[in-house]
Structure formats: C-alpha cells, structure tokens
Symmetry: C2
Subunit: 169 residues, 2 copies
C-alpha cells in the first residue's frame, strides 16, 4: 500500500474534528493527488460524491474492544465503531466533490487531519436508504442523550415539559 | 496490512459476480473473522448494515485509465470507477448483517470471491440521500442503455412506442 496523495485539511489536531453520530462535517479541503496518479482522475468531475480511503496515520495501537468518545458507558468491539485504533488503520470518508483543478480535488466534508495519506478514491454510487438502517449501540446512545437533555431541560422548566418532550422525540 | 478474516462466498470466479450500476447483489455468504480478532465483533449485532473493506487479491496490475465492462465506449480514470485494477487494491462492499454466530457473520450482498481477505469491518452509519447523488459517466451509460433498449423494443413493436418510452424513462 502506497499513498496516491495527501489531504489538505483545516484540521491539524484530532481534538478539532467533530465526533460522534450526527456530527456535522462541513469542512472544506483538498485531495491533492500525486502527479503520477493524475490520469486516474479522468472523468471524476461527473460525480457529486466520492469515498476517500485513507490511513489513520496518527492513531495509537489497535484496541479490539474499548470505549469511544461518543459512549463512555461501556466498551464496544472495534468493528462496531469508527475508532481509529483498528487492526488495519484504514478510514473511509464520503465527501462532496466541489471542483477539480488538475490533480487537486476541492471537497466538502473533510474529517481528516492535514497531511493524511490517501490510499484510494472511489465514486459514491448508491446508498442504503435511511429507513433501512439500524445503528445498534450508537442509536441507543443518541436516544439516551436526547433523554438526558430532555430531563435537564424539563427539571429547569417544568411548565414546558409537554412541549419539550415532543421536541426531544 | 494483515487480514482479519476471509469471505465465504458462493462465487469462485469473477465472471459469476453481477457487474455494473444497478446490478443486484443478493448473494448470501459469511465473513469469517479470525479467532484473535473475535473480541472486535462485540456489539456488532445491533447494526443492520456493515461496510466490508477487503482486498482485490486476484486482480491484474493497476491501470490508471482504462475501459470497464459497464462502458466499452471510452476509458475512464480508475478513481472514477470501481475497477479492481487500482494502485492500492482495496475494495468496499456494503452488506446487510443477517446474523452472527461467534466469529462468523452471515451477510447478504456479497460480491467478493470465496476466500477473499478482509481488512476491516465498519458499521454503516449514514447515507448520502439518493436525490443528491450525481453519477457522471455511469449515469450517461445507463441513460444510453435504457435508450437503446427502448429503440430495439419500439422498432419491434411500433404500436407500443408511446407506452414503452414512458417505461424507459
């Protein structure tokens, strides 16, 4: 495996990258492909979205079962998380292609650090429909955090309980 | 990079795997994870869909710009295709998780050959909505094939032209 290019990102430290299910990834950046791979970009402009395959090049040792920032209640298996501490430190990000200038692809939806090595780029072709997705512990976690948000709000404003619980749902 | 497991698939030759945009991938098979990585599967049962990261272990040398089976009219850059002949021979497949027995995951949507090495498994968390996707040359190609299908059908059955063209659209 050898990099085909590198990410140009506004993020230089993992603490700057939004994390967790539902985190907004609006950051713009560039996929800078090495000159020797430029021919591989032919016709890429026609696709609205791309999948970037990249390397977690600054992650710690693999951890098969551990806690993640989005849920500190119990550990999860690494293959049930997006944790960077994986046996093979490969990451995937779906980005929106904003434009191309030669071997530079301007994209939105960056969640990589600046200088991250890119292994591959693929066109994003199809999706599993939203209504067919189950998200296991992550969905539980989201329900819990909505619930605790609701609790904290309603305990402060008991008169608004009904309206708040509707919003939280 | 080292395999975390292997695919058990009904396909033993690439000619058996459905190809092209819109190809149905209903084949069932197993992701057989090696014993030393089983702990990484903890909690995976809660997810309906997984992304499997695997190796094109029987593909030819990389080809930066070449023709693909779904369009023999002109070559496309490898990063604008799902061709197996990539600089880094990494493949992605979204599968539906049907069940787990220990370190064996029963899945639907297999498009790998039997014995394919698996590098990683990630939960499928979110999708780009269908209406936001543009598919470049692949969409052109689909329109063309729908159009030529329409032509061949209407030339045989001129009386049904109006109805057929509605269907083809």
């Amino acid at each position: 495996m050898t990099p085909i290019g590198y990410v140009r990102s506004p993020y230089t430290d993992t603490s700057q990258v939004p994390k967790g299910l539902g985190a907004k990834h609006d950051a713009e950046g560039e996929l800078e492909i090495l000159p020797e791979y430029e021919a591989g970009l032919t016709d890429i402009e026609g696709f609205s979205h791309l999948i970037v395959v990249w390397v977690f090049d600054r992650s710690g040792a693999a951890e098969l079962c551990g806690k993640v920032p989005s849920d500190d209640s119990r550990p999860h298996g690494v293959f049930a998380t997006r944790s960077p501490r994986r046996p093979n430190p490969i990451a995937l990000t779906a980005v929106e292609l904003l434009g191309r200038e030669g071997r530079r692809l301007r994209v939105r939806g960056i969640d990589m650090l600046d200088g991250t090595p890119i292994l591959d780029i693929k066109p994003y072709l199809s999706s599993i429909p939203e209504e067919k997705l189950r998200r296991g512990w992550l969905a539980e976690q989201r329900k819990l955090s909505a619930f605790s948000h609701q609790l904290s709000v309603t305990s402060l404003r008991p008169d608004k309980r009904q309206r708040r619980s509707t919003i939280a749902r």
